[in-house]
């Protein structure tokens, strides 16, 4: 008898993703949904989606959802969690959303030890608005607003969110993962699960930074994008667990 090997998680709706071919936003959505299913928390989880390519995540996650203003998801999540402390609350944010316009919100949610989980998708560009430079754009990387490549003198150097947030006492679990191959996808899922468990245990703020592709704005094929991520992003953004509470080790 045939065994079901691939099933849509209950935490995802049957709406088809609008993401470009080869975009790894879809994989990350799936990982979050699988973790929610496996933990059996869909019924009392509330998600907050950002402004960016994942703005429609409220149509994909099969649970109560909020759409937040650009960068403000951690503040919105704070409002949710403070009214309903027994709910699981997560934000899903891109690197323009979180590391540029929303830096104050993420830093202070982390500093307060807000008991929420953030899934931070770092694709080194602004996807939705047409491939402009993001705070995470690599030195020398060409974007529509750095046509000659990101120059340090004019645009500084990338913001390393995981390193930065892990200096805050309130941020108790911080990890950087990638989804460019099956092995890393498995590790990414484990990290997302840990982050949710940290929240469930009421330990504090948790964040998983996920290195992700944007074939459309990188001007590469899906396959080339995976390689570009491995060759260029991994050296600049070291993977690993930056912080982990003893309770979930």
């Amino acid at each position: 008898m045939a065994k079901v090997m691939f099933k849509r998680p209950a935490a995802l709706t049957d709406k088809q993703f609008h993401y470009c071919p080869g975009c790894t936003h879809g994989i990350i959505h799936r990982l979050v949904a699988e973790v929610i299913d496996e933990m059996g928390i869909r019924d009392h989880t509330v998600g907050v989606c950002p402004v960016g390519c994942s703005v429609f995540a409220y149509d994909y996650f099969n649970m109560d959802m909020f759409q937040a203003a650009h960068g403000r998801a951690p503040a919105v999540a704070t409002g949710i969690k403070r009214t309903l402390p027994d709910r699981m609350v997560f934000t899903y944010q891109g690197d323009g959303d979180l590391a540029s316009i929303g830096t104050a919100e993420i830093v202070h949610a982390a500093a307060r030890g807000e008991k929420i989980t953030t899934v931070f998708v770092n694709n080194a560009v602004y996807g939705m608005t047409g491939g402009q430079m993001a705070p995470t754009t690599l030195p020398g990387q060409k974007t529509t607003t750095t046509p000659k490549g990101r120059e340090k003198e004019a645009a500084g150097l990338p913001v390393k969110i995981s390193e930065m947030l892990s200096t805050l006492d309130g941020a108790v679990y911080v990890a950087r993962v990638s989804v460019h191959d099956p092995k890393h996808i498995t590790q990414a899922k484990k990290a997302i699960r840990k982050a949710f468990e940290v929240q469930q245990a009421g330990l504090g703020f948790s964040l998983v930074e996920v290195l992700s592709t944007c074939p459309t704005n990188w001007g590469l094929s899906p396959k080339e994008s995976l390689k570009w991520l491995a060759d260029n992003m991994l050296p600049y953004y070291p993977l690993g667990v930056y912080k982990e509470p003893a309770e979930v080790k």
């Binding site: 509330v46 429609f56 409220y58 759409q67 919105v76 949710i80 009214t83």
Partner: protein
């Protein structure tokens, strides 16, 4: 019931608690700081949450989160802080989330002064943030009215699923007046909010809090729906006070603190034989336009008194619609009109001195 002496800013907080609000998010700013000070102590006493946010941008987005789960929620600030909140207020209006936002206004523009002003009238009633929306805007003129209108603010917000703003100024915030308070704090009945997104908890269909309507036809539909709601609010919820209006030849008008001053001038003018009256809008939006239109049939002149360079006067003129002259007396930047100066203006106008 007992009478207690209360500061305006504290009354905002106590009024919110009496109205069933248990969540406050805010960032410090003069001249409303007594309110967060009060609530930092008072919220824990009633099992509520007081949270000092990192900015007004964050406060208003925390409000968005809390309102979206169906709770009564309050934020408060003063003019510069309100400017920062405008993006969030637009989102709240678009997502149709009830909440109460307080602006204890101070002099502007820019960092301005910390003294009392009314120069955020336009920001409050004409939009402030981007897009087609309106707020219900309440303008109390006494500490008792603050307490009473806080209940009204939360009730109207829930009834119409809309953000509500309450505007005051530094004088109103700092002044102490006796207020009638029920001896016990009871939780009022709060309308069920089946749209709230606080987790499925057995519900089949997810609830989504959202202001994105990517298809223009859908976005226009939202705006039509919002404006149908605003029309119902204008019909049902317009509030104002009239004072000695029936035979008035000159009608003074203003809101909040300026209206209190204008009211005292009405009596002084009457004592000198000038038939003066007052219209005080309590809702700045919806604006009580019909009351002015009716008064314009018999009064000869209007005098709008504001603590600004003249903002509400535009709505007064629209309401009077050219039937009678509308004069203006205002002080701005944190300066407060003196009754004697307003009276002098009344006399000058009635003597035809400024034509």
């Amino acid at each position: 019931m007992s009478k207690v002496l209360m500061k305006g800013n504290e009354a905002i907080g106590e009024g919110a608690i009496r109205a069933g609000c248990r969540h406050f998010f805010g960032y410090p700013i003069t001249p409303q700081s007594e309110l967060p000070h009060y609530l930092a102590k008072r919220m824990p006493e009633v099992g509520g949450v007081f949270l000092q946010a990192e900015s007004e941008t964050s406060s208003i987005n925390m409000v968005y989160g809390a309102a979206g789960t169906g709770f009564r929620v309050l934020t408060s600030s003063s003019s510069p802080g309100l400017s920062l909140m405008q993006e969030g207020i637009s989102y709240l209006a678009g997502a149709e989330l009830p909440c109460v936002i307080v602006n204890v206004m101070r002099g502007g523009p820019g960092l301005g002064s910390i003294a009392p002003a009314q120069s955020d009238y336009f920001q409050a009633v004409k939009g402030g943030g981007h897009g087609d929306y309106k707020l219900i805007v309440l303008a109390p003129a006494s500490v008792q009215e603050i307490i009473d209108l806080m209940q009204v603010a939360f009730d109207l917000g829930d009834k119409y699923r809309t953000p509500v703003m309450l505007v005051g100024d530094g004088i109103l915030g700092q002044m102490m007046e006796p207020v009638e308070l029920a001896d016990e704090v009871t939780l009022p009945e709060i309308t069920a909010k089946p749209w709230a997104a606080g987790g499925l908890k057995g519900r089949e269909t997810p609830n989504i809090i959202n202001s994105l309507y990517i298809v223009p036809e859908d976005c226009e539909k939202l705006n039509h729906r919002l404006f149908a709601k605003y029309e119902a609010i204008a019909t049902e919820e317009t509030r104002w006070e009239e004072y000695r209006l029936a035979d008035a030849e000159i009608v003074l008008t203003g809101f909040g603190t300026a209206a209190r001053i204008a009211k005292s001038v009405v009596d002084k003018a009457r004592a000198e034989g000038i038939k003066a009256g007052l219209i005080r809008p309590i809702t700045l939006w919806p604006f009580p336009s019909k009351v002015y239109a009716k008064a314009a049939e018999q009064a000869q002149r209007f005098l709008c008194v504001e603590m600004s360079m003249g903002q509400m006067i535009e709505d007064v003129k629209l309401a009077v619609n050219g039937k009678k002259p509308v004069h203006f007396y205002g002080r701005s930047g944190g300066m407060v009109p003196l009754a004697k100066d307003v009276l002098a203006e009344v006399k000058k106008i009635m003597a035809g001195g400024d034509e």
